[in-house]
């Protein structure tokens, strides 16, 4: 792969409801910050890929709402409908194709404007599954049950993820739910769908993020701290939940393998210094850790118990507080990338992990992590 880098990032604060801001307003803030970060103007950007979802945004052709704020005037532009990690991946290929030199990626969502369960219900089959009322929470509860049952993962272990990530969020000024929690607090929180409780679940969030990808020449010209893209991979599993072994994340394993091979990583636990992974629910951080090869299958619970994924551990996961602390769907994966960029640069402030050389960012699409996207970033 040709050398490409992330040379600018910008994000809004993630909040429960941004009452006064439109999609365009949020994206403009993130884009302005990303351009400032890269010390660029919009003139230096030669193409744009936005991340928009017609359901979350409540409009067909949702990309129309953010074209102006993404600086799309008279430029080549496209739109990926899916998590921000996938949006950025398409943006990356537009540079690797030799067509463009600097791609601006934006992603946004306002969970506050709609009824989330109806939106996520709409990802299920309209004839067979949707009438049963399945949504993101109930389907994930099914997956959590399967995973915990197969590997003996406990609700306490899941709760530990929530405690850790909400505590980490206290160091992140952009996060929504910084909290001091105990495992007991999580276990005693309101039951949503067994085994998922309120504090095992990510919140509803408004927010936007923008990043700038550049080829080697542009990166060197503009950036003192380019963060190089060392590997990417993505992969999708079967759609019908009944067709999958919900206790496994085979598509993540494959996506990770692709990204690791590209980056020359043989032992991810040793070679990766920090990971920002898509923890829409607490059990997911454990399950995805296994899929990413940070531990053996079924050992995700022990991994969190060991403290290795804490801020001071050997494999810190989600120093930003993760999705559990702020979950602007669609933007969330792009925020994972932006956070990993900050870590590699050494610019993550109070949430900085010392001496990060290699960071990982991860995003998901579809019910129960049907599809995964993995990014390896390095100095």
């Amino acid at each position: 792969m040709e050398r490409t880098a992330i040379i600018g990032i910008g994000m809004t604060k993630q909040e429960r409801r941004k009452e006064s801001e439109t999609f365009s307003d949020m994206v403009f803030e993130a884009v302005t910050k990303a351009l400032n970060d890269a010390e660029m103007t919009i003139k230096d950007i030669d193409n744009i890929v936005t991340g928009c979802n017609d359901f979350w945004d409540g409009r067909t052709i949702s990309s129309m709402a953010v074209g102006d704020a993404s600086g799309a005037w008279d430029k080549n532009i496209s739109c990926v409908e899916g998590d921000g990690t996938f949006v950025a991946l398409y943006g990356l290929t537009r540079i690797l194709s030799g067509s463009y030199r600097a791609t601006l990626i934006t992603a946004h969502s306002k969970g506050s404007e709609s009824i989330s369960s109806l939106i996520t219900n709409a990802m299920f089959d309209p004839i067979y599954t949707r009438p049963l009322g399945l949504d993101a929470i109930t389907s994930s509860a099914l997956q959590a049950k399967c995973y915990m049952d197969k590997y003996g993962i406990t609700e306490e272990q899941c709760a530990m993820v929530s405690v850790k990530n909400h505590r980490n969020a206290k160091n992140n000024p952009y996060s929504q739910l910084p909290m001091d929690l105990s495992v007991k607090d999580v276990l005693n929180s309101r039951r949503l769908a067994d085994p998922i409780k309120l504090l095992d679940a990510s919140p509803i969030t408004d927010g936007a993020c923008a990043i700038i990808l550049a080829d080697e020449g542009m990166a060197k010209r503009f950036s003192k701290h380019p963060v190089w893209i060392r590997g990417v991979g993505f992969c999708a599993d079967a759609y019908h939940l009944g067709d999958r072994d919900l206790a496994e994340c085979k598509s993540l394993e494959k996506a990770a393998k692709t990204a690791y091979r590209m980056a020359g990583i043989e032992n991810p636990f040793k070679e990766i210094d920090v990971a920002e992974i898509y923890d829409a629910f607490s059990y997911q951080e454990l399950m995805w850790s296994e899929g990413l090869g940070f531990c053996e299958k079924g050992e995700g619970g022990k991994l969190v118990e060991s403290g290795k994924t804490e801020m001071g551990g050997s494999m810190p996961i989600n120093p930003s507080g993760g999705c559990l602390s702020a979950h602007a769907v669609i933007a969330a994966g792009l925020i994972r990338i932006a956070e990993a960029v900050l870590q590699v640069r050494g610019g993550a402030g109070k949430r900085q992990i010392p001496d990060v050389k290699t960071g990982l960012a991860h995003g998901i699409n579809g019910p129960c992590g049907q599809s995964h996207c993995v990014w390896i970033l390095g100095e």
């Binding site: 941004k18 009452e19 006064s20 801001e21 439109t22 365009s24 307003d25 403009f28 302005t32 919009i42 359901f55 409540g58 074209g67 102006d68 704020a69 600086g71 799309a72 005037w73 008279d74 306002k110 506050s112 404007e113 709609s114 009824i115 109806l118 939106i119 709409a122 309209p126 004839i127 949707r130 009438p131």
Partner: protein
């Protein structure tokens, strides 16, 4: 049973609506409140290219510039382009079929550089022409949305 005789089913999407609560934004709110309370139309000027846009929004797209300066616009303007809609379709606002025919036009308000789109009164079709002068007719009861203007009517100006 042959393929042709076979009964083929469809399934409706259910009765649940998927409601949204869109933020109008700061500038848009000012526009709609001014319209509701004072029957006035506001535009916003780009500090760079000096273009005035309606409705007001944050970014001038070609300049990629943040805009701040609200300007009062006339309720009169020129009809730039129009059509008369004669086919009916489900109006997402009401959920019922929109009554036809009705006029729909792009109006360049005096003092503004882009066009404002709204209904136009087509009672006297002979007067409905590109370049015709038009004026906003406001609703008696105004609620802070686009329908606070009933339509634009042709005037002799």
């Amino acid at each position: 049973m042959s393929e042709k005789e076979m009964e083929l089913l469809t399934k409706g999407s259910g009765e649940a609506e998927q409601p949204f609560r869109y933020s109008v934004g700061r500038w848009g709110s000012k526009f709609l409140i001014e319209l509701r309370d004072h029957k006035k139309l506001l535009g916003i000027r780009c500090p760079k290219c000096q273009k005035v846009y309606v409705p007001p929004r944050q970014v001038c797209s070609p300049c990629f510039q943040r805009m701040e300066e609200l300007v009062e616009l006339s309720d009169k303007g020129t009809l730039m382009a129009f059509t008369i809609i004669r086919f009916s379709f489900i109006d997402p606002e009401t959920g019922i079929t929109r009554p036809v025919p009705y006029g729909y036009g792009f109006i360049k308000l005096d003092g503004c550089d882009n066009s404002f789109q709204h209904f136009i009164n087509i009672e006297d079709e002979s007067k409905v022409k590109i370049g015709a002068r038009v004026q906003a007719v406001f609703s008696e009861e105004r609620k802070g949305n686009l329908m606070d203007i009933k339509y634009f009517e042709m005037i002799d100006d």
